[in-house]
């Protein structure tokens, strides 16, 4: 458990394959193949395929009831898939009961045993593995220290705060050195501030111990903040599985675009590949660029663009406003980048940002201007521009 060996920066190139180096993890390679599961006569998981590298932190993100917990429970061995295969490190464990798997799970309610002390709770997995009492005590003390609960071992769960219970559950899951750490909405019972702090702690701890981890959540901020990769789920299927940057900036489907934050949806016609990104015609005359998700659409195909408000820059029309108040570099970029012209319809001050609504040929485009940037006046003619890698291009559904 050496600190600082993490080489995965959240800003690193969105390749998704660089996580195998984490803390030297070699264990916990999870493969799900074609998992289906019906509950109460309804198919709640409908064909899940995914592969996790050892040490990876993957988040299942989706609205309540989309089958996240069901999927997690099939990994843990609490549910048997109707069809499909669960593999860990090349071994098929689909039919292996939960008590013979090595999974550390943290439940939404934490599920601490109320009649056992914190130390007994944490050592429970070792007791089940017939580890001797002296060693149990030593390792429980280590685990308590790992999660910052030194000296709390003799307390009962009811004497702990929500955050302390959550850490106890984490220590109890990690002490058995599991193949995978499974977290089912572990932060949802905490207040907002603690939630943010603990998720950072959990992410840091995960990087330190290097256990392959699946987090289940419906909170997109949480998913974006802690994950190596995010699987966005809806109605039992994975809509997109990629690094947070890509899921956020280049959503693959309407659902992903709408669920993970606010988005501008623009419909257009594909107009061929450019040097960077893909050209797309909006209306009759305007050309914009975006990055195709999956296979690039053929020329003339109907396409849909997703652009986050944060990715949209509102630029002055070069000729209309020659020098006055605009920097030269802004004008340069305007010239270099095609964009969507429009008229400023509204601006709203939101404290840290300014929201700017521009009426264009493709409908309203919302832009979020960073703090301190110049705010265009109402009715001003502007150009909405973005970098091709900040907009996704998909076939129109």
């Amino acid at each position: 458990m050496t600190a600082g060996t993490d080489t995965v920066g959240k800003e690193s190139a969105p390749t998704g394959a660089d996580t195998a180096t984490r803390a030297g993890s070699t264990r916990g390679r999870l493969v799900l193949k074609g998992i289906h599961k019906a509950l109460g006569g309804k198919e709640v998981v409908r064909g899940i395929d995914l592969t996790m590298e050892p040490g990876e932190f993957l988040t299942l993100l989706g609205p309540s009831g989309c089958g996240k917990s069901t999927t997690l429970n099939m990994v843990a061995g609490h549910l048997l898939p109707d069809s499909g295969v669960v593999e860990v490190d090349g071994r098929d464990i689909t039919r292996l009961p939960a008590n013979r798997r090595a999974m550390g799970m943290v439940f939404q309610s934490y599920a601490l045993f109320p009649h056992m002390t914190v130390a007994e709770n944490i050592a429970f997995g070792l007791r089940m593995r017939k580890v001797g009492a002296a060693q149990r005590r030593r390792r429980a003390a280590e685990a308590l220290e790992l999660v910052g609960l030194d000296g709390m071992g003799e307390r009962y769960p009811r004497q702990l705060s929500g955050g302390q219970r959550q850490r106890t559950a984490l220590a109890r899951a990690l002490i058995v050195e599991p193949d995978l750490l499974l977290l089912d909405e572990p932060f949802s019972n905490l207040d907002a501030q603690l939630r943010v702090r603990l998720r950072e702690e959990v992410a840091a701890l995960q990087r330190r111990v290097g256990t392959t981890t699946i987090l289940v959540t419906h909170d997109q901020d949480e998913a974006l903040a802690v994950s190596d990769r995010i699987a966005v789920m809806a109605e039992g299927t994975i809509h997109q599985l990629d690094v947070p940057e890509t899921v956020y900036l280049r959503p693959a489907t309407d659902f992903v675009a709408q669920f993970v934050g606010e988005v501008n949806v623009l419909d257009g016609i594909a107009a061929g590949a450019a040097a960077d990104g893909h050209r797309c015609r909006i209306g009759d005359t305007h050309l914009v660029r975006a990055t195709p998700v999956g296979t690039a659409p053929g020329d003339g195909e109907a396409v849909r663009l997703y652009v986050r408000p944060e990715a949209v820059r509102v630029l002055a029309v070069p000729q209309a406003v020659p020098e006055k108040g605009r920097s030269a570099s802004t004008a340069d970029r305007t010239a270099a980048e095609p964009g969507l012209p429009g008229t400023v319809e509204a601006t709203r001050f939101l404290g840290t940002r300014v929201r700017c609504v521009v009426a264009t040929a493709a409908g309203r485009v919302e832009a979020t201007l960073p703090f301190g940037s110049e705010v265009p006046g109402l009715g001003e003619e502007v150009i909405c521009a973005w970098q091709p890698q900040h907009a996704s291009l998909t076939a129109r559904p």
Binding site: N73, A76, H78, P97, P114, F124, V176, L350
Partner: protein, 233 residues
């Protein structure tokens, strides 16, 4: 962050638009929740005190008096001195113990079963559970007479396989069976209440940590009232 709503500064207006009259918003005297509860329960308490508790006290009081009203212990010496009364007392306690045990054996699995069912199924099954209490004692007793009698369906079953039907009526077994039938609800309902307070995630949590299903181990001594019903022993 979203813009914060501005809170109005001026005095709140009453619905008709006028300012509140001075002294209207006198602070309400703090009253403990138990006092409110006592107030709400007082009619029921009054009825019980008059019709149940008072007669019981009168009974106890009279048991220490002669017919003429002089204090005495004679009633008790006579009761405990007579072996007939003593046998009746022991028999009563014995039947009671057997009934409790029978209710526990039948009721606990039923309560555990109910825990995992849908609210709808629970409602129907609870109705079944409470149905003996809705039937008059005489009807219920005759029902058992038919069932357990020498010409009843159980005896017929024995005869069908060529066996002599055992005598099933007019003994302790029959009494206990009839008592368990009625008293089962009083066992299952509190058990359900306790079981419902146990986090259902405890079972998968224990299993995920290596606890094999159905295995019972020694472990440390009991510390929690719900330990007996806990999946983690």
């Amino acid at each position: 962050m979203a813009a914060t709503a501005r809170v109005a500064d001026g005095p709140a207006l009453s619905p008709d638009g006028s300012a509140p009259a001075p002294g209207v918003s006198r602070p309400v005297k703090e009253r403990g929740p138990w006092r409110t509860g006592l107030l709400l329960a007082s009619p029921a308490i009054a009825v019980l005190a008059l019709l149940f508790i008072a007669p019981l006290f009168m009974l106890v009081y009279n048991s220490f008096r002669t017919q003429a009203g002089d204090p005495t212990l004679h009633n008790y010496t006579r009761f405990l001195g007579d072996s007939f009364y003593r046998d009746v007392l022991w028999h009563t306690l014995w039947i009671g113990a057997l009934t409790t045990l029978g209710c526990l054996v039948v009721g606990y699995p039923f309560a555990v079963y109910l825990r995992g069912r849908s609210p709808r199924a629970r409602n129907y099954l609870s109705l079944v559970l409470l149905s003996p209490l809705l039937i008059s004692m005489v009807t219920r007793a005759y029902g058992w007479l038919v069932l357990l009698g020498p010409k009843g369906p159980i005896a017929d079953g024995f005869h069908a396989v060529g066996l002599e039907a055992p005598k099933m009526l007019y003994d302790d077994t029959a009494v206990v069976v009839g008592m368990v039938h009625v008293m089962l609800a009083y066992m299952v309902l509190p058990l359900m209440g306790s079981l419902d307070r146990i986090d259902p995630a405890l079972t998968p949590a224990a299993k995920g940590l290596g606890r094999a299903a159905g295995r019972v181990s020694g472990g440390s001594p009991s510390r929690c009232p719900c330990r007996g019903c806990s999946p983690v022993r």
